[in-house]
């Protein structure tokens, strides 16, 4: 029997949540003291988000109890959660793009005059008050689609504070921030807990926990594993608790032996959707047998760079050549035929046709070529055979998924299909954009191993990632992108994280 204790902002006990026959959460517990920062650590798919969705009232638990400030509460929906002082900042921001910052913050909680007319002036003032108190810089009148990701996150935090949140839940908060912005966020968090608030951080990033939290609860496959004081454990120990066995945190690789140039980008200028320059004179070279990693914050031109390489958009100036042959300003077909394979950032939008089967997705770029079709008629048998080799080589599960819709597979398995497909194209250059997003530790290992194996085979590999660790671990050459240009390039092992972090944020390299 658990009794409420008002020292604790929240106590969750015996939480069980089923979806059909599947247990997302089984007898899970979480206790968070007021005035503290507490992490919830687990792999992708472990149930962290589900637990928090239960706390926020988006889901109802099948069993278990929740106490807020020592009082038992039945959180039927977000309104009840909000009324109890719980605020949630989602990983994928819940912001209406077309609305302004102010409109998003006050949605559902508007101060109105008699006829229901929204009092915008009052709202702005209230918001600016909170902004000042905790140091959250935002522009109240800007539209969400026009502001940076960092500011969008602050808007999400403001949404919670505007409603008087005392307990804040942050879901993977540092995924999209620069090292400097992470510092800012940490200081904002400390302001908040100094004010007596409590913060829960959902994460799978060990560094984040070490930097921010007092305590950490580990969840694995929906079940409670342990709660530890963060100061007293090492990253290695946390990783082992999270996965359930020993984990290698560093990638194994032999030194690179780069050969001739494969991809050459010169003075590239590319405009974004709103006709502004996003790539502003970029230069980059990738050689055979080399992994070049581009480190940078999302929004510094990476998206437009990839779009220009794949010829989805034209290059305004400059050139992109593969083995000497220009591929910019052509079309995606020509680019593919020139030996370029791309693992796209958004696997469900660009990488896969979710309603097609795995067999069909495996040959998406090659449906017109032998052996998959002959004189325009598809050869389904060859498609099935090929897919089966992919499934076996990359351990795609379930292993009989060939004729199933690829949309039924988990994110990690979908990514494996894409990677297998692109590698099987035997390209001269393999480009991987955010290839490990949303994947668990095992899948991440597979992806990194694949990239290194291809490099060892003599392929050129270009890795674009927002995870600095990944870029530093996997790449032979590290390039930093900021404001549409490559600011500087380093050989692996000759540079430290702080220098790169500085460059990523626009600082200059002083030696």
């Amino acid at each position: 029997m658990v009794t409420g204790n008002s020292d604790y902002a929240v106590q969750m006990h015996g939480i069980t949540k089923r979806f059909g026959a599947f247990y997302a959460l089984k007898d899970m517990s979480l206790d968070v003291k007021k005035g503290s920062i507490h992490s919830l650590l687990g792999e992708n798919g472990a149930g962290k988000s589900t637990l928090m969705n239960v706390l926020y009232g988006l889901y109802q638990a099948d069993e278990g109890e929740i106490f807020i400030n020592g009082k038992k509460v039945d959180i039927k929906n977000p309104n009840v959660a909000i009324a109890n002082g719980i605020g949630m900042v989602h990983q994928h921001f819940m912001l209406v793009e077309d609305f302004t910052v102010t409109q998003n913050i006050i949605l559902g909680n508007e101060t109105t005059s008699r006829a229901g007319i929204v009092d915008m002036k009052k709202a702005r003032k209230q918001i600016l008050d909170i902004v000042e108190k905790y140091g959250l810089a935002v522009d109240p009148d800007a539209k969400i689609c026009d502001i940076s990701v960092g500011m969008q996150q602050r808007v999400e935090i403001l949404k919670a504070l505007y409603r008087g949140a005392e307990l804040l839940i942050l879901d993977e908060p540092t995924a999209v921030l620069t090292p400097q912005e992470i510092e800012d966020l940490l200081s904002i968090m400390h302001n908040l807990i100094d004010d007596g608030k409590a913060i829960i951080i959902i994460t799978h990033k060990l560094k984040e926990i070490k930097a921010s939290s007092d305590t950490c609860t580990i969840i694995r496959r929906g079940e409670y594993i342990d709660t530890v004081p963060v100061e007293k454990v090492s990253g290695q120990e946390l990783a082992a608790l999270m996965v359930g066995h020993e984990v290698k945190l560093v990638v194994d690789k032999t030194p690179a032996k780069p050969g001739e140039t494969v991809l050459e980008i010169k003075d590239l200028v590319v405009k974004n959707e709103r006709k502004l320059e996003a790539v502003k004179g970029l230069n980059l070279t990738v050689h055979k047998g080399e992994i070049v990693g581009i480190a940078g914050i999302d929004g510094n031109g990476q998206k437009e760079l990839v779009e220009a390489i794949s010829s989805l958009v034209p290059a305004e100036k400059g050139s992109i050549t593969v083995c000497g042959k220009p591929i910019n300003n052509t079309n995606p077909r020509t680019v593919i035929d020139s030996g370029v394979s791309i693992i796209p950032e958004d696997r469900q939008k660009r990488g896969l046709v979710l309603d097609f089967t795995v067999n069909e997705n495996a040959v998406l770029e090659r449906c017109r070529k032998e052996p998959f079709s002959r004189k325009g008629i598809l050869n389904r048998k060859k498609m099935e055979e090929f897919t089966q080799t992919l499934i076996e080589a990359y351990d795609v599960r379930p292993d009989d998924c060939g004729s199933r819709r690829v949309g039924e597979l988990s994110g990690g398995n979908q990514q494996k299909v894409i990677i297998g497909r692109e590698v099987a194209m035997n390209p001269d250059i393999l480009i991987a954009v955010q290839p490990t997003r949303g994947l668990d530790v095992g899948a991440i290992e597979t992806v990194h191993k694949t990239l290194i194996r291809e490099r060892d085979k003599g392929k050129a590999v270009l890795l674009i990632s927002f995870e600095l660790d990944e870029v530093m671990n996997v790449s032979d050459t590290i390039a930093v992108i900021y404001d549409g240009k490559i600011q500087d390039t380093f050989r692996q092992g000759t540079v430290d994280e702080n220098t790169i972090g500085l460059l990523m944020a626009g600082g200059k390299n002083h030696g």
Binding site: N331, P332, R350, L352, V353, G376, N413
Partner: protein, 374 residues
Amino acid sequence: MDKAIKILKKPLTMTLIAVFFGFIVAGIILAAAGYPPVHSLSVLFDGVFSSPKHISNVIIKSTPIILTGIGVAFAFKTGLFNIGAEGQFIMGCVASTVVGILFDFPPVIQIPLVVLAGVAAGALYGGIAGFLKAKFGIHEVLTSIMLNWIALYFSNYICTLNRFHKPDTIGTYPINRSGYTMILGNYKTTEAGKAALAQNEFLRSTVLKTDVNVGIIIAVILAVFIWFLLYKTAKGFELRAVGFNKSAAEFSGIYVNRNILHSMLISGAICGLAASLYITGNSPHGIATLAAFENTGFNGLSVCLIAASSPIGCIFAGLLFGGLIYGGQSLQYEVGAPSEIINIVIGVIVFFVALTRIIPPLVDRFSKGGKKHA
């Protein structure tokens, strides 16, 4: 349990359930309005099945909507909502009639000429909407609605031209006989022919009394061909990829705009084919001034939805639809119930088709438990 789940997930089951409910609701409405429900439904059945003449007529009347249904279904499969089937059908009729009147070659040339005219007209007309979408991004529903009306009035205009207008009527001359696609069309109008056919009861009630034509045969062949095109060829693969996910298709090297255009061209062509087979196979073998849409295209849309956009399914859905409409006439005649009850039945069936469409995903959810394998 697994077997039951499998059966529940088949589209055919959905349609049958929807049809069943359609009839139930019809029965309720009829009863509420004071008409005997069971008797009415049996009159309906008789109206369709009780004689070869009826069956023949149902097949003949279903042919155009089977074809327009396939046309709309093709567009759906490739991600486009071809609400312009009506306009494409009308333009096909106009083209077939005009060419059929202006030229008079021997049948072996005339028939393909007239049919191709209709197909080309339908294709071009569908292509306009496709082009506007591919090039300017204009919603094909919007342009198609406009194009439907333009086609209607253009058709009426043609009917007024001296070259085509048949005096004392609101329509055109019939096309030259050399273009007819009726079965034994010429033979059965001769004295000898009539006598010979009258001897066999079956032939008398079908060939002599109805406009038996090759349309249905073409429709079936086309359904199979379209099915083959969509699922067995690389082109169909690309078209369906564009329909499901334009972004991924584009990224994998498929030419999206080209495929959107091709899709509307083909869809329009099929509707045009429906039109030319209709003109060449059914009296009066011409067009008339219309006060409102005849709905061949819109009914094709309903057929397609009942058939869940399956080309082969359209054959059966089209026959169902045609049977209901034809049988509805008997209903009005014998029982006095307004024939509009048929429209209500069809509407309810389509409504339930919409509802039953959610059953397979629901079934999936329950059996798998919602989350995917990690």
